[in-house]
Symmetry: C2
Subunit: 427 residues, 2 copies
Amino acid sequence: MSLASQHEQKDLATYMQALGERARAASQTIALADTHTKNQALLAIAEQLDQQQAALLAANAIDMQHARERNISSALLDRLELTPARLQAMSDGVRQIAGLPDPVGAVSETRRQPNGLDIGRMRVPLGVIGIIYESRPNVTADAAVLCLKSGNAVILRGGSEALQSNQAIATCINAGLESAGLSGDVVQVIETPDREAVGILLTMTESVDVLIPRGGKGLVARVAAEARVPVIKHLDGICHVFIDEFADEQKAVEIAVNSKTYRYGICGAMETLLVAAPIAEQVLPQIQMRLDTAGVEIRGCEQTCQILGNVTAATPDDWATEYLAPIVSVRVVDTPDQAMAHIAQYGSSHTDAIVTENIARARQFVRTVDSSSVMVNAATCFADGYQYGLGAEIGISTDRLHVRGPVGLEGLTTEKYVVTGDGTIRT
Amino acid sequence: MSLASQHEQKDLATYMQALGERARAASQTIALADTHTKNQALLAIAEQLDQQQAALLAANAIDMQHARERNISSALLDRLELTPARLQAMSDGVRQIAGLPDPVGAVSETRRQPNGLDIGRMRVPLGVIGIIYESRPNVTADAAVLCLKSGNAVILRGGSEALQSNQAIATCINAGLESAGLSGDVVQVIETPDREAVGILLTMTESVDVLIPRGGKGLVARVAAEARVPVIKHLDGICHVFIDEFADEQKAVEIAVNSKTYRYGICGAMETLLVAAPIAEQVLPQIQMRLDTAGVEIRGCEQTCQILGNVTAATPDDWATEYLAPIVSVRVVDTPDQAMAHIAQYGSSHTDAIVTENIARARQFVRTVDSSSVMVNAATCFADGYQYGLGAEIGISTDRLHVRGPVGLEGLTTEKYVVTGDGTIRT
């Protein structure tokens, strides 16, 4: 390593350490901020985003110009772009979060123990959250305000292609925080495009309590592999719908079609349809007709191909693929056990549904399938925080620890025991 | 590395991988076992422990003999030893866990959302738990049956000095599991004393869902530093009692003395006493008298030394020390803020208590102090799972994620969303 780059590395380490220390200090004050103050800050942030529209669009135009010069794909350009409508959606989102109940300070049912102590648990913030994400600049605002409302400080690291946009959004957020008397350090955006900054963030065990990567598989896999700080993450969403032999045909067709076609790119989209053999000949042709109309390609097992004709044969890879595209794999199964074994083998523990009118089958499926969401007679595309009544989400966790499924404000908190006695001693 | 030791390493890796695969397979069946079957296994394990007392004592005698030959300290020998009374306590503990409610399958309050879906959360096991612990063989039984009752498979790694004892206990557990029709692989003990086995266990991300180290700081620090699998851990217990100026003197004295002297070696023992200046001259002499009788050494701040006389001056190191011994550091503070700042600076976020009759002071302390247990008018030595009504605990977590404070059966589970509709689709 050259002396110059050694110097840069040292500067970067110093910069990141200072960022971490400011976040830790800010976390201690935001943890104790009352709901009214936090909501004032949120409303002031929304106001700033509205007022600074011209500055935000100008910053975004610079990012867009750089991205075009680097021949970035049109899909990425679209994700990067801010428009007046998108900025409006951003400030609306901030106002919605101001309207949500504050999880911090809520105390669970407190029970008196035989020793005379009243024991309950109080929700408290996690502390400092690090969020690493990719090109969409709206994540900067969404993630920042969810962390703020839940009493956490946050260190944000967006994609380098959105650097100007993210800093402009951060300026609005900091102004909003300060107008409510809170420290701007509650929300900090890493200001260098240096990729090594992420490497440092992943190991800041003293100043970061949890990391949340939001983005493609490459990013999440890197974070999971390198982080020394605990991670809440979302891996694949290979979601299944199983049409049981006791399904209502009409519901089955609607749920299968909706689960696939509501939006192809969401992690809750169905990627594999499992159909019980006794009902396959009735439902599969109806589903094929609807999916054909929508332009969805079917890749079928042998029996599926026999029933439908004119269908591509599925390879073993298909069962393990998250298409995120208008493609669906279809398998006919002989028993519910075979369906559940398929889900256990190929699924990603994200969201899996059964369609059945039989309560014993539904109970067995719900108990057996080990996914963050298990559904009965509902479309897998419902898997998101708004639909679950969480108000908003920072992502969907496919981890087992701490929080599973959509992560809302409560998922960004932890609990402490509150123990009250009256001079109570242990004998 | 010699060819021979390369061969051994390969054998060890193969052994550990097979162990992990068996645990993963067993976790899938134990997760679905009904409460009655799990309780039958628990009662059969208790029965085995009672019946095999001679074999257990013989195995333990071999461990004790080896330990004596290696000149192990008498404290460690005491922890290693099994006696008929300790075996009785072990099987009693197993029977108690059979009597606890089963957390698995419990569904939280289910609410209907505007989209028509009923949304709740069901408790499910974590999967495979790895537990790494030191010399006390009773941990083998305690940890195994807590994991079993909560529907998890477990891989146990005890201290090498307890190898024979742990294997004898594991034999009883496996026999009990099998007599209830469950796989013996639900509870596996690593059978090699090779320290490298721990290194492998820490990185088995495919087959282990969470690691729980139980032991001294060295062990916990190693696990935290090297693990690639999520960890639930317990670091220091530097617990404080703060006697507020509005404290009832008698309660203050009792709580301070009890918090220190109930047992010196527990993590919930008070290590530092903070006393508000206006009440210090009244309470400190009474506390000193009681602690003198108990043989506890006081190390005081300047004001403490002035009030008490004949007291060692505390050094800055004292405030950061977990004595686990009949020593206590004492500091006089001018304000509650100073007390809380001291706890924030030197505490370990384990358990901290305020003694006060003033509700505003109590509320402020409970809200501000960021510890896994915050107490009002109660002794810190209450910090354990039995006292909190959890029935039993596998340890106390000072982590922020997943579970904080005493970890009982619920802490060994996670949740999944259960979503029920009636052919509900998203529009």
